[in-house]
Symmetry: C2
Subunit: 120 residues, 2 copies
């Protein structure tokens, strides 16, 4: 059992769209990810997903509106809801989501990461 320093973990990688697993509890993962640019429209069939912004500004595009998130703000995207994360500038995000969550949800493309790196 060891504590995790979020800033320290974020210093250890630079690639965007490549989540790192930094914790696991109750069948859920805690992940850190850096976002830059636009992702891909997708949804998760079975998983709700929490995005907590650590640094930068995240725009979560939904089909009917956009929600901008600043540091210290989080959004829970329920299962089934299509979303598109957009980062005009680099954004650092903490994710809480089930272990089963695939980053691109129902879509499979070059952004899909089947086995995120376990950093802790």
């Amino acid at each position: 059992m060891q504590k995790v320093n979020i800033a320290d973990q974020l210093e250890r990688f630079s690639e965007a769209w490549s989540p790192r697993i930094v914790g696991e509890l109750n069948g859920q993962h805690v992940k850190l990810v850096k976002l830059k640019g636009e992702f891909v429209w997708h949804h998760h069939e079975e998983e709700d997903e929490l995005f907590l912004v650590v640094q930068g500004r995240l725009r979560m595009r939904l089909r009917d509106r956009d929600i901008d998130l600043d540091p210290g703000e989080f959004l829970i995207v329920p299962r089934g809801v299509e979303h598109l994360p957009v980062a005009d500038e680099e954004v650092h995000v903490l994710l809480f989501e089930p272990v089963s969550t695939l980053n691109t949800g129902n879509v499979r493309n070059e952004r899909t990461i089947d086995s995120p790196v376990k950093a802790v």
Copy 2:
């Protein structure tokens, strides 16, 4: 679906040891809580519990050692592990834990809160 600003939510209450539910996903709650002083030794039979410090310093006492947590640091206390949160000065903490989690775990006393307030 609405974003949650952690600092705004923390401004809305002042009582220590009284968690507020600010999110729910995948059978888990996101809670905010203010701690001041010493809690009670306890463990959770079925639930792993994540403590993320937002403000102040939290000392998590375990039976074999203490772990001090500063803002931006988190600790996952696995089910079955006895722990005692201590806050010499007021600490603000984000909790991530199953909906079934009772704050005092296997102990029932004046600190027990059966139905935390749903703030969001």
